[in-house]
Structures are given as structure tokens and as C-alpha cells.
């Protein structure tokens, strides 16, 4: 890595710190972040009494991850555009990929920390964790992946945060249903498996099941590999599209 890249990476961390201070370290954001998995769990629990608890907790971790990593990240850009601070950032010597990486890293911290809440719930309920390191690595990788998805959702050049929220809900909710959270992959029909294979959440679910239930549908290496590829594709696409649309927000 050259000096220039190292310097840009440092500036990504500055952007990350700014995002954490301004957008994440807010009472409502944190409380909402923690309440979402709790409510999801209760809904989950009352809806499916005959499923094993470790299966439920694994699904809960997956959903929490998806919802927290994509909660704030898509609205930061429209917000900053509305407040005119985007113009300031764009006048600074940082590239668009640096800016997006910074936003992504802030979302990664949030996603990772909040996803530990359902892990804790599982712990309290006596779920055993067979592979803690795999679980932690999976959580970090998944928060990178879903944060990148969140930033991709931020690319339509609308400055109205509620529009972005709507679009992102349209993407997020279907993902919940196709990714093997409610029905394990092995019980799905072939077409269900085919659809599920296009969702990054499927592979994260497989990693959590491996960690909590000691069994996975795909090989764990494959799960990690596919998620890394998803992350790279989503991030690159987000950068590519932001390069086109950031201009229109000024």
C-alpha cells in the first residue's frame, strides 16, 4: 500500500469517527438498535414454538445484523446533502471511495456491537456456542457486507431520507424470507435454494448455524468466500454509483 492509500485510509477513519459521533451515538438510535432484536425475538418465539431455541437465536442474529447494518447507513448521504455538509466533504481531499469506506466502517461498528445483543440473549437462554471465533469473524464480515448493501441503497439521488427508507425496506424484507431464517436451507425446495443462494444473508445464516448448532448446509469456507465476494461487489457498486449521483445532490 502506498502512502497515498494509507493517508486516504486514515481519512476514512476520520469520516467513521464523525459518523459515530453524529449519527450513531444517539440515545434513540442505540435504543432502537437494541430493541429491534428483542422485539424480533419475541415475535419469533411466539410464532414458532416447536423450533429449537438455538435455531431461533441463530435466525435472530441474522435478522439483527441485516436490520442494524442497513438502518443508518443508507440515510447518512441524503441527510448530509440536506444539511449542506456533503458539499464540505466533497471539497476535502478525499476520494469518494474513502468517503464511502468511512460511512461503511461506522456502520460496521454499529452492526457488530448490536449483533452481540442476540448473542447475549442466546447465552442467557443457555444456547451453547460451538465456534465462538467463527461466529465473531462471521459477524464482522456480515456487518461489512450489509453495511456495503446499506450504502448501495443510499445511491438513488433523492435527498428525502424517508424515500431511501422505503426503498431499503423493499430490499430488506424479501431478504429475510429468502435466506433460510424461518425455514432451514435443507428443508427448502430446489427453487428455494436457488433463490436463497443470491442472498448474502443466506451465507451468514449458515455461519451462525455452524457456530451455534455445529452444522451447516454449505462448507464454512464457501460461506466466508461468498460473503467476501458479495462485500467486494456491493462496495464497488456503491462507490461506482455514488460517483455518478453525489454530483446531483449538490
Amino acid at each position: 500500500m502506498t502512502n497515498v492509500h494509507l493517508e486516504q485510509l486514515k481519512r476514512s477513519l476520520v469520516i467513521m469517527k464523525k459518523d459515530v459521533l453524529i449519527y450513531y451515538l444517539k440515545g434513540p438510535v442505540i435504543i432502537f438498535g437494541i430493541l429491534i432484536p428483542l422485539f424480533l425475538f419475541l415475535a419469533f418465539l411466539s410464532g414458532s414454538k416447536n423450533l429449537p431455541i438455538d435455531f431461533l437465536v441463530a435466525g435472530l442474529i441474522g435478522m439483527t445484523m441485516l436490520f442494524t447494518a442497513t438502518s443508518v447507513s443508507p440515510v447518512i448521504t441524503p441527510w448530509e446533502s440536506q444539511m449542506n455538509t456533503l458539499e464540505r466533504l466533497m471539497s476535502c481531499p478525499i476520494s469518494i471511495s474513502t468517503l464511502i469506506l468511512g460511512d461503511m466502517l461506522a456502520s460496521v461498528i454499529f452492526g457488530t456491537l448490536i449483533s452481540l445483543v442476540p448473542v447475549l440473549i442466546g447465552f442467557i437462554l443457555g444456547v451453547s456456542i460451538f465456534h465462538p471465533i467463527i461466529l465473531v469473524l462471521g459477524i464482522i464480515l456480515a456487518s461489512l457486507c450489509f453495511s456495503a448493501l446499506g450504502l448501495l441503497l443510499a445511491t438513488p439521488p433523492t435527498n428525502v431520507p424517508s424515500n431511501v427508507m422505503m426503498v431499503s425496506s423493499l430490499v430488506k424484507f424479501p431478504l429475510v424470507f429468502i435466506s433460510g431464517i424461518f425455514i432451514p436451507l435443507e428443508n427448502m425446495p430446489f427453487w428455494g435454494k436457488v433463490i436463497a443462494s443470491f442472498s448474502p444473508l443466506t451465507y451468514f445464516m449458515d455461519i451462525t448455524r455452524y457456530s451455534l448448532q455445529n452444522s451447516s448446509y454449505y462448507h464454512i469456507i464457501l460461506d466466508f468466500g461468498v460473503m467476501i465476494i458479495f462485500t467486494i461487489i456491493l462496495y464497488s457498486l456503491a462507490v461506482f454509483l455514488h460517483k455518478r449521483t453525489l454530483q446531483m445532490r449538490i
Partner: protein
């Protein structure tokens, strides 16, 4: 002569509306360059292009020797930008805002802290340094924005209407700061609607109208440009009938406002001689005699009018 900014054939349009239409100019190193024009003339658009915030449709732009489209980051490292719209992070404190900029411009932690405090003092914000910007007045925010733009000691500063809507003290403070920066050898690109400010501060001024440069020169030369006839203001001790003044060859036109006479002439010297002869003949006296210069405002109205009547 080296130039801090070189702009050739700059064009930018928004959905069919041409905001900047073939602009050419150069800003010399170490000058304050004024950029004037009516609302919607294309000033902010030009500044945004020069600072690499938006891309032009066509044209060639060099900022501090860098092609702003090809090497935006290298150019931006040395630019300070005060945008038109106030844009601090209102949830951060004054000091945090400055340090954020320090981080984004790669100023080392140690230097950043020291410089931030120094700037906060210079701009009378030190006492409020840890307060959230949310509660700041417009003048305080604007001073903070200038401090943020200076954290990395930029060579070239772009300011888009930095004193608009500010009280006398804040504008004065900002103008004094700009003159100090000029002394330090910095180059300043200043957009303003305040012609008196441009007249006082700027070495050269460009007037843009409808996306085109209408005039570009020193304030004094611009004034001379429309000084086709000299204007003299004078008062007499005793009343003077108009028709008697019209008899003097040197006078082209006379206007009276209150007790003052305004005379247009080609030749101030001969007019003076003719007038002294006239008053001694009539037993009258000249009480005051002033030659008037056109103001920058008159130049502005004149050149922006000419361009707009073209289309």
C-alpha cells in the same frame, strides 16, 4: 508570472439551463481576485467547479498547476473552501468541527490541536470552543467556517459570499483576516455582492453576468472604463441661473440637486479656468469643487446591463 487558477472555456449547464457559458480567466498568485455578478450569474457554480465539488461539461481548469478533474485530491490538499451555504456539523462543537477538517486534510494530531486553538482565538470563538455549533449565531458560524477552511494553512482560499448577512464587526474581522492572508502571500478568490468590499480588498475583479465574463480588470481601471466624461460637483455662494452655465463651452450637461451643481466635462482644467473667470465676472464665489469618480456599483450596473441586453 505564475497563476493560481487558470480557466479556459468553462461551460456547465443544469438540465438544459446554461449556468456558466464559456468563461475564461486567470487568477494571479498572491492576489485577491473578486468575482462579482448578479444573482444566478453563475458565481457559485464556477466556485464549485474550481474546488472540484462538481464537474464541468467542458473546459480546462488548472488549480495550483493541477488539472482539477484529473488530480482533484492533490489540488484540494492546498485549497481552503468557504462555501456559500453555512455548513458546519451543528451537533459537534466548534473545536470538533475544526479538528474534523484537520483530520480530513491530513494535519497531524499535535499540529491540529495547536492550530485549532490559535484559530479559535483569532476568530473570537475560544470561549465557546466546546459548545455545540447548534447554538451559534450566523456570524459565529461564519467565523468558524473560515477557521475550518484555514486549519491546513492553504495556499489558495475560495470564499463564496463570506460576509453576506453578517454584522459590521464580523465582516470587519473577516476582511482583516483576508488582508493578513494576502500579506502572507496567499491567493484569495472572493465572491461577493458587496461592491465596496470588492473595491477595498480586490486587486482585480471579474464581473460575470448570465454565465459570461462581462469585464475583468483592477477596480480603478474598471471605473475608468465607464468614465467617458468627467463629473464635477460644485456649489456657489450665490444662486447661478442654469442658462448662464450652459453658455460655457466646456460644460456638456448640468444637473442640480439641492444646492449642488453636477457638471459633465471633457476637460476639467479648462472648466476650472472658465468657471473662475465666470464667478469673478459675476461677483460670485465657488464654495466647493469636487471631481467625482464613478463607483464600482455604476460599473457593475453598466456592464451587467450591456450583456443582458444582448440576449
Amino acid at each position: 508570472m505564475t497563476f493560481a487558477v487558470e480557466v479556459r472555456n468553462l461551460v456547465k449547464s443544469y438540465n438544459g439551463i446554461t449556468a456558466v457559458n464559456g468563461v475564461n480567466f486567470k487568477v494571479k498568485e498572491g492576489e485577491i481576485f473578486g468575482f462579482l455578478g448578479p444573482n444566478g450569474a453563475g458565481k457559485t457554480t464556477t466556485v464549485r467547479i474550481l474546488t472540484g465539488i462538481i464537474k464541468p461539461d467542458s473546459g480546462e481548469i488548472r488549480v495550483l498547476g493541477y488539472d482539477i478533474e484529473k488530480e482533484p485530491i492533490k489540488a484540494k490538499e492546498h485549497l481552503g473552501v468557504v462555501p456559500e451555504t453555512s455548513n458546519t456539523y451543528v451537533d459537534l462543537s466548534a473545536r470538533q468541527n475544526i479538528l474534523l477538517m484537520a483530520g480530513l486534510y491530513g494535519v497531524s494530531k499535535k499540529d491540529a490541536g495547536e492550530r485549532a486553538d490559535e484559530l479559535l482565538r483569532k476568530f473570537n470563538l475560544y470561549k465557546r470552543r466546546d459548545d455545540k455549533v447548534k447554538g451559534f449565531s450566523k456570524g459565529m458560524k461564519q467565523r468558524l467556517i473560515l477557521a475550518m477552511a484555514l486549519i491546513h494553512d492553504p495556499q489558495l482560499l475560495f470564499l463564496d459570499e463570506p460576509t453576506s448577512g453578517l454584522d459590521v464587526q464580523s465582516s470587519y474581522l473577516i476582511r482583516e483576516m483576508l488582508l493578513k492572508l494576502l500579506d502572507e502571500g496567499k491567493t484569495i478568490f472572493l465572491t461577493t455582492h458587496n461592491l465596496e468590499e470588492a473595491n477595498k480588498l480586490c486587486g482585480r475583479v471579474a464581473i460575470i453576468s448570465h454565465g459570461k465574463i462581462a469585464a475583468i480588470d483592477t477596480p480603478d481601471n474598471l471605473k475608468k472604463m465607464i468614465k467617458k466624461l468627467n463629473l464635477v460637483e460644485l456649489t456657489f455662494e450665490k444662486p447661478v441661473p442654469l442658462e448662464e452655465l450652459y453658455k460655457l463651452d466646456e460644460i456638456h450637461n448640468v444637473e442640480i440637486k439641492g444646492d449642488k451643481f453636477y457638471l459633465n466635462t471633457d476637460d476639467v482644467n479648462n472648466l476650472m479656468l472658465a468657471l473662475t473667470e465666470y464667478v469673478s465676472l459675476k461677483n460670485n464665489k465657488i464654495i466647493s469643487f469636487n471631481t467625482l469618480e464613478p463607483t464600482l456599483e455604476e460599473v457593475f450596473l453598466d456592464v451587467t446591463k450591456e450583456v443582458s441586453s444582448d440576449d
